[in-house]
Symmetry: C2
Subunit: 542 residues, 2 copies
């Protein structure tokens, strides 16, 4: 045995579990009076947020919640939601933030599958929650959130409200770090376009590490003013509830996300950072002069979810926003890839910059490996921007697995890699670029055509607001690209004009052969539902 | 068993050991052409530094070095030294950076005790190395570093030089992460003022985490220009070799550290960050107009080791340096406590700011617990700035233990805490302030007097360049404070003037009762050797 393995064991003094709860405890101690959260007229200090999280933990414990129990939450981005990123974890419970745009059936499925012992829910969602609870074949304790900033309709669900529940807890509660940092901290259901959602399980170690990844890859310093445009139920807000605690920042809550509220928050609170899918960027780009507000400070935006068209990135930059492009999956704690910037690129034209930035990029600081492999041979594809393979991840910010689904877990994590199901290429500088979901690639006359590439061209047209390209069955070619287009108000575009525009900007064989106009169907998280478009085409051709 | 503990095991896809080697690999891939190191006329890119580290690992392996073997290095802050922070770790070996200011006997002790299998040494130190090797009762492979920037005397020690050795290695060497992140990465001998040095063992996990702590607590962003004023043999350069790799920064090496070379580097390379004991700060403050150079950019300085007098911090600030004060031990991977800044303090006078900043502060981001306990009862002292207790640490950045010294390890890590041996108080805001090493406290008439407090007053006197206060045996009081003073050139001070100055600035019972003039003895790392002063007093009274 090596001398370094003798009498040098772990002990209480030199080994502790990594957990993001430690960030909150530290910040509350060092910056007790610094503002943690602003939500309309409500304002909290870090001391208060820490105490409220402890009260929540204590109240949950008194209600019988134990290590490994699921605490479901259905809320907007309010202080209560933020507290739920910490309180349950303090007693080893697992928080399951539910997507508040889903239907009762799906919510009932999550509550059932996740075996939630308690549900904390904002009364705004009573119309979804009540039928979901009826569908669930067991009783479950419910706590109502009555948000001071909510003025819409909503029924009482429970006779216990959140503040009363909190008051039953001890604000000096002595919480514990998990005995093992591999212990689960949260459960996030995928919004799965087909089939039942899968329950992605995160652990304390991964949550801790990806919170730090956010800091490093975004060059974040102490005391950011962080605006909550990204729903916290989306991959635990990409780990940002924990990141902001680590940096003693200020969380600006936003119950209704639209252009006006975003600009208002930026101007009033001097927001320095926010995250959002391209749908958020589009809100900003398309804002009217009345909705817009001037600001002089630097605003950093992190975007992901769907690959943003280069034109969107370009417009954001012209509006004065500094955009960082990231990419990840629910299975990777949110962002796990970043288009890391190079100073040399500052000298390029804004268009060239946007093109470089629209690539997904390189591995996040705390991800161990990122690559694109041929999924059959498991060999890496060459770095030639051409050969398409499957994006694969490895490291501590890859999920524990899917809850109660060993088959799916085994399949997703086989051969030492998380198989993303996303297709992409590696460019000569090692940056990856997504080409499609496996099922979104169009195979026309034996050639692989990336629907994203076509969409990227379409988005450059000034009159096009939204675009999605899918494969249409084609007698001659097998498949051909069909473009679904949302045009801007007060503009006019014909099918032929669109096809001609594409032919000017890309190889002819890749251009759409047909165009359909109309509103694009989107998931609750803003992703365009291509399977619905595909279905439309099937129905129209049969 | 909880549903969260079933079929959700660790696998190659979702669990990897934390190791700072990953930082180098990532940065070399993303920023291959960014400058990693500048050393005089030599300049490297991150691609080159990564390849050289791999070559070093490969060459070591070919020489028979295996996991758990010790690789000793005796060098200045040169590119070779930097590469040694990575190369040995890539094959699971443990690097032992030797203090190049030590004598042959102590070096021989380290090589013997650490069981070094190989020694990489700069020929400048041949005069120390050769007798050390003779003293060592076994053969050891030696590799000579012949630094292009060294022009002084020095003899060939080995017939293999570093570049030849490197060339025998494979630059595409496939290194491995440690199987267990608890595996040792480095060995650092304490400079122990009495008795044999103790070998402090660090692991990959702690090295990884404290590298990130540096980033967060110092608000570091990508591409810092880091000047190597702090010796890398000092707690592995406080983990900064790894921090700079994580941020794709540029290391500016400095073979000879003095006021002129520091200012020259700041002006030429636009240095953004450097670290150093107060001795480095004094070099800057006392620099002549000829040595100084103008600079316009912000320079961040991290200082630790001995508690810097408030007056030193004040002078640095006036010179345009932004000082962050940290504190730690060899046993805590270097810095583990930081005087975290509050924006509100910006409005205070520069003197008040310096006083706040001279406190040691709060726990580092990745340290789990920091407290001051009564070492007998192990109860925390009240936060009253008065009650003195022992500073205690807990967390992942506490050492594995002392090599081959289970008794000392057990003693240092007993009761779940690392016992620092340093004495301090907790202020009302939770910030800790050191009062003394246990053995440096002066007990006079039953009152505890902090020698640091007296020194802090002495340093405010414009004619005093150095001050150290120790206990002098006293018939009436048991002990009384005796001040050893170094005065500035061309100034004049009497014992009485000094005592009067103290009486004006602090409680009379705390003032020195006697003063001794002369140069202060210092350790190789710049710490004043109080035990020598104490010895002088013993000798003078017997």
């Amino acid at each position: 045995m090596s001398i370094y393995e003798t009498d040098l064991d772990k002990s209480l003094a030199n080994f502790t579990s990594l957990s993001p709860i430690s960030f909150l405890e530290r910040t509350a101690k060092i910056y007790p009076n610094h503002t943690s959260i602003i939500h309309g007229n409500r304002k909290f200090s870090w001391k208060e947020t820490y105490e409220r999280a402890k009260q929540l933990a204590s109240a949950l414990l008194k209600s019988g919640i134990r290590t490994g129990d699921t605490v479901a939450v259905m809320a907007s981005n309010t202080p209560e939601m933020y507290e739920c990123a910490f309180g349950p974890a303090m007693i080893g419970a697992v928080v399951n933030m539910l997507n508040n745009r889903l239907d009762s059936k799906t919510i009932a499925f999550s509550l059932d599958h996740g075996e939630a012992k308690i549900l904390i829910a904002d009364i705004e969602f009573s119309k979804i929650i009540k039928p979901a609870l009826s569908e669930l074949n067991r009783d479950i304790k419910v706590i109502d959130i009555r948000d001071s900033e909510y003025y819409g309709p909503g029924d009482q669900i429970s006779d216990v409200d959140y503040e009363t529940f909190l008051a039953s807890g001890d604000l000096h509660f002595k919480w514990q770090l998990p005995k093992d940092e591999w212990q689960a901290i949260s459960l996030n259901y995928t919004s799965g376009t087909t089939g039942n959602p899968k329950g992605v399980v995160y652990h304390h170690r991964g949550a801790y590490l990806n919170s730090l990844s956010n800091i490093i890859s975004w060059n974040m310093t102490h005391h950011p003013i962080y605006l909550w445009t990204l729903p916290m139920f989306h991959c635990n807000g990409w780990c940002f509830p924990w990141t902001i605690a680590a940096l003693a920042g200020t969380n600006i809550c936003l119950r209704r996300v639209n252009a006006e509220t975003i600009f208002e928050a930026i101007a009033t609170h001097k927001v320095t950072h926010f995250c959002g899918a391209p749908i958020i960027l589009n809100l900003i780009i398309n804002a009217t002069q009345i909705e817009k507000k001037d600001f002089k400070h630097r605003v950093n935006v992190m975007t992901a979810a769907a690959p943003p068209p280069a034109s969107t990135l370009e417009s954001m930059q012209r509006e004065g926003f500094h955009v960082t492009h990231v990419y990840g999956l629910t299975e990777t704690y949110g962002p796990a890839v970043v288009c890391a910037w190079h100073h040399e690129w500052d000298d390029l034209s804004i268009e060239e910059q946007a093109t470089l930035k629209s690539r997904q990029g390189v591995k996040y600081p705390m991800l161990e490996k990122l690559t694109i492999l041929n999924p059959d041979s498991m060999e890496p594809v060459p770095s030639n921007s051409q050969t398409i393979g499957e994006v694969m991840f490895r490291g501590n910010i890859v999920m524990k697995g899917y809850l109660k689904n060993p088959t799916a877990t085994k399949k997703a994590l086989s051969d030492g890699w998380l198989h993303s199901g996303d297709l992409g290429v590696i460019q000569s500088d090692g940056y990856i670029q997504l080409k499609d979901r496996s099922k979104d690639i169009i195979i026309s006359g034996g050639e692989n055509i990336s629907s994203i590439e076509i969409e990227d061209v379409l988005y450059r047209h000034p009159d096009i607001q939204g675009a999605a390209v899918v494969a249409k069955p084609d007698e001659k070619w097998g498949e051909s690209p069909c473009a679904f287009i949302e045009i801007r108000e007060n503009t006019n575009l014909t099918e032929d004009q669109i096809i001609q525009f594409c032919r000017k900007n890309m190889a002819h064989f890749k251009c759409p052969k047909s165009v359909v106009f109309g509103e694009l169907p989107k998931t609750s998280t803003g992703k365009i539902q291509k399977y619905k478009l595909r279905k439309r085409l099937e129905n129209s051709t049969t």
